[in-house]
């Protein structure tokens, strides 16, 4: 079971609710994915508040745990204020903390993220910080009390998968007591399987499903990949070898050592 701040989940997928062709497709994709946690954002109201109501009613029908984010925040102050609004709006202590440092890469400002995490933890939040593959930063986040750390696989929405595999392997080995979630950059179900094979606890994705040709079908594909990846991790995978090793037994191979029979 996946454990996040003491709560247990059978699905290892956290799924985003943005960028689907329609709310109906989003709802169906989330259901099909089996995800028990969805991410949402907090935005200034427009359209007389009706947009927020329509969206929120659909989310409530899904009967899932909500993880609000601080997406779009570029400062500690904005991220903290947005988290406080999210807590009021969604009535949850959970916050996916994003403090972005660069507009082009949407790379997290890891210094700001650590600072904001400290403030929010002190205010009683349960913080899910989005960070890079940097081991020191991940350790510092865990050190200040984050029970979940969410390094990127690659840039948000890029679909490139896990591009810093060695660093993320190291992070998994060093942070055995923390729930680690690969957040951002996954594009294919095989990327998600890979994350769980590496021992990561879960993945968080959005565009890979929402932006696919058939989000509902892709949601199913990710669910299957995650199941396979986790089972592989639990089974314990073989160690890669430098040279070939025959799969079939060598002893008893027919016609072995008979090449010279005629001449003897």
């Amino acid at each position: 079971m996946l454990e996040l701040y003491g709560q247990k989940f059978s699905s290892r997928l956290l799924i985003g609710t943005a960028r689907y062709p329609s709310l109906a497709v989003m709802q169906e994709a989330v259901k099909t994915s089996g995800a028990e946690i969805v991410t949402v954002s907090v935005r200034r109201e427009n359209a007389g508040g009706k947009d927020g109501d329509t969206f929120w009613n659909i989310i409530r029908e899904l009967n899932v745990k909500v993880l609000p984010n601080t997406a779009g925040c570029y400062s500690v102050e904005d991220a903290v204020s947005t988290a406080e609004l999210a807590r009021e709006l969604f009535n949850t202590k959970w916050i996916k903390l994003e403090v972005i440092g660069d507009k082009a890469t949407l790379q997290p400002d890891v210094v700001g993220t650590l600072e904001a995490a400290k403030i929010l933890l002190a205010e009683g939040f349960e913080v899910f910080p989005y960070c890079t593959e940097d081991l020191t930063v991940a350790k510092r986040l865990a050190g200040v009390g984050c029970k979940v750390v969410m390094p990127w696989g690659s840039q948000i929405g890029s679909g490139k998968g896990i591009i810093h595999e060695e660093a993320l392997q190291r992070m998994r080995a060093e942070l055995s007591g923390v729930s680690l979630v690969i957040d951002a950059g996954l594009g294919a179900p095989s990327h998600a399987a890979k994350a769980l094979e590496m021992g990561y606890d879960a993945v968080l994705l959005n565009t890979a499903v929402a932006g696919s040709g058939n989000p509902v079908k892709m949601a199913k594909a990710f669910a299957q990949a995650l199941e396979a990846g986790r089972a592989a991790f639990e089974a314990g995978m073989m160690k890669p070898r430098e040279i070939a090793q025959a799969s079939s037994p060598v002893a008893g191979t027919p016609f072995a050592n008979t090449a010279n029979a005629r001449s003897s």
């Binding site: 943005a18 508040g49 927020g52 109501d53 984010n69 102050e77």
Partner: protein, 75 residues
């Protein structure tokens, strides 16, 4: 002579980053004055969250900066 905002019994607020002149003196009145019909809002005044239970009694003052937010799709 032009009347100032105070003389008109109105106050100037920044609501979601836009300057507005309103008669509302509480978050509850402000939501009504802005015709916000939805149910799911959170409100912050000068970055401080005003819980829904205090929307009637919290006082808005001239120059306050108000954020009104709703749930939205997110990743």
């Amino acid at each position: 002579m032009q009347k100032t905002a105070a003389q008109e019994n109105v106050i100037a607020l920044a609501v979601n980053g836009e300057r507005r002149t309103v008669r509302a003196t509480s978050p509850r009145e402000l939501l009504a004055e802005l015709d916000l019909e939805g149910e799911f809002f959170a409100v912050a005044v000068n970055r401080r969250v005003i819980p829904k239970t205090r929307w009637n009694e919290a006082v808005l003052r001239d120059g306050d900066s108000v954020e009104i937010v709703t749930p939205r799709q997110g990743g």
